[in-house]
Amino acid sequence: MLVESLVVSGMIFVIGTLGVIVRRNAIVMFLCIELQLNAVNLTFVALSRYVGIEGQVFVFFVMTVAAAEAAVGLAIIISIFRHYETVDVDKFNLLKW
């Protein structure tokens, strides 16, 4: 079971990574980052069965932090939407990226 869960979570992580690199919509990029974090949660849970219960505790830490990050991140996305009327990161070109 362990190998299968690790492979699945690894695949989810790669999907999230590719999504951040390929997609240009700030909200979708953010969504993909959350996908990465959830892949990590899955890894922790899968491993905790063999390693120890701490793994499941870490998942709560990650979820809390992800929630805090979401609050700040969406606020920043709103603030940039007020300036540009778009969330397409290719349109933000004052800085060279």
């Binding site: 980052i33 990465q36 063999y50 990050e69 800085l95």
Partner: protein, 502 residues
């Protein structure tokens, strides 16, 4: 006093500086919302001085912690010399950062309470990160710091550039956190623990799952490299540094980088010394790339702010050398270098804040033509900071590089040392070009000749920076001795591994 963490009060003692700062942050925020006077110059100055006083109180607590010893190394947050010295660096950066940002906050009309509150929270996060012995605690410290700094980068809501910098920093910061966290999960799976000493024991004992471990170490290295902005993970740095409000840029390039490097060093030299073969080559190449690319790109910049951003990346390359060397000499050199780097970068950014006038204009190098003769004192301050950044003999930056080189030579990293010296010489060009503009070129006729008012807080910060830069350059002995004793017994890399380098 001895702490064995058998009693709840021991935790409060061990975390005294962090607790003082957290309370300070809450107090500042409450004062901001409850002050009767409307937000203005006076309120922001009051809040600024209170923040500085609070940071001094935390520094006092930090000094007092030298009289406290902890038993064993099993706690999640360390109370060793390394953590205490890191706290000095981070607290100094935060206090100087507050001093140089006061006038900027007034003229940009930013919310002072939020600015200082977030700055203090980011300081708390960095202190936790630098002292953490557990990967999960490092992650928590990293996020406390990051969430505060994302907001700080975007704090100027009226400025498009600031919003853009905030978004870029947020997206790439969260992205790199994902890698960092996946690295923690894999290391946890491979070694069965997230505590650096337990990880080291597991690797030394050969019970770690090697494939998972190597993946985990690689992902952790990627996460850290994003945070310290090492090439090839540096793409966000110039844009974010250029777009963020200048005091925030100063803070990001100083304390944030310092905290990331300190955690980087602790994890890799305490946690993974027995896996040295699997990571040193990658970090060796990253250090080389960082030094070469950043110094080359910095030479063609026309904006002083962006030039300082690339200079920050170049300095990350120099500091990476200490991580690759992974011995005590290099670790002490890293501490000393981070201290001087804090002072010289704050000095340079302070002048950039003063010159940029009302907002974020006048950042081009041409604006500095004749600046030295118009404002001799500020010119001297800027020149000293630039010379120190370049590593000119007689300044703290020079001694820092000497100590880094000592560590690298001790680890037999001959090529890396040679590249460090060569890129330093190349960096003289772009630092001295600014100094040349200041002293050797005449100002254009239409330039405003009005002299710049220097507020008292800024004055204090600049004087402290220059005096300490020169002091550390001329009499580095005492501070270096302190740094050496701070890292004693911390680094786990034995002499058997040193000498593997080409």
């Amino acid at each position: 006093m001895e702490l064995d963490f058998s009693h709840q009060a021991h935790f409060i003692v061990a975390l005294a500086p962090e607790i003082i700062l957290s309370v300070l942050g809450i107090v500042i925020l409450l004062m901001g919302v409850s002050s009767r006077r409307p937000e203005g110059a006076e309120t922001s100055a009051d809040l600024g001085w209170i923040s500085v006083l609070g940071i001094l109180a935390a520094a006092l607590a930090n000094g007092w912690l030298y009289s406290v010893t902890e038993v064993g190394t099993h706690s999640m947050i360390a109370l060793d010399g390394f953590a205490l010295f890191s706290n000095w660096i981070i607290l100094a950066g935060a206090a100087l950062g507050i001093l140089i940002s006061q006038s900027y906050i007034d003229r940009q009309g930013l919310q002072a309470a939020e600015f200082y509150g977030l700055l203090i929270y980011s300081t708390v996060g960095l202190m936790i990160m630098a002292a953490a012995r557990d990967l999960m605690v490092i992650f928590l410290g990293l996020e406390i710091m990051s969430v505060a700094v994302y907001v700080l980068a975007a704090i100027n809501r009226r400025d498009r550039k600031s919003a853009e910098a905030g978004l870029k920093y947020f997206l790439l910061g969260a992205f790199s956190t994902g890698f960092f966290l996946y690295g923690i999960a894999l290391v946890y799976g491979a070694t069965g623990s997230t505590h650096v000493s337990a990880i080291a024991e597991s690797i030394a004992g050969g019970t770690a799952h090697s494939a998972l471990l190597v993946f985990g170490i690689a992902l952790l290295a990627v996460g850290f490299s994003f945070k310290v902005s090492a090439v090839p993970f540096h793409m966000w740095t110039p844009d974010v540094y250029e777009g963020a409000p200048t005091p925030v840029t100063a803070l990001m390039s100083v304390t944030v980088k310092a905290g990331a490097f300190l955690a980087f060093l602790r994890v890799f030299s305490v946690g993974f010394p027995d896996a040295y073969e699997s990571w040193w080559a990658v970090l060796w190449w990253m250090a080389v790339l960082t030094m070469v690319v950043a110094n080359l790109v910095a030479t063609v910049q026309v904006s002083v702010k962006r030039m300082l951003a690339y200079s920050g990346i170049a300095h990350a390359g120099y500091l990476m050398v200490a991580i690759v060397a992974a011995n005590e000499t290099a670790a002490a050199g890293l501490l000393f270098y981070l201290l001087t780097y804090t002072l010289m970068n704050i000095g340079a950014f302070g002048i950039v804040i003063l010159v940029s006038g009302q907002g974020e204009e006048r950042l081009e190098i041409e604006e500095y033509a004749g600046f030295g003769w118009r404002q001799p004192v500020l010119g001297v301050v800027f020149t000293v900071s630039l010379l120190s950044l370049a590593g000119f003999p007689g300044t703290g930056g020079f001694m820092g590089k000497v100590f880094l080189l000592q560590g690298a030579i001790e680890a037999n990293l001959v090529y890396l040392s040679a590249i460090l010296v060569l890129t330093t010489v190349a960096s003289y060009w772009y630092y001295l070009r600014v100094a040349w503009y200041m002293w050797m070129k005449d100002a254009p006729r239409e330039a405003s000749t009005q002299s710049i008012e220097v507020p008292i807080a800024m004055r204090l910060a600049l004087v402290i920076c220059v005096v300490l830069i020169v002091y550390l350059g001329v009499f580095p002995g005492a501070s270096m001795e302190l740094a050496r004793s701070s890292v004693e017994g911390m680094s786990g890399v034995g002499p058997g591994l040193i000498g593997l380098a080409p």
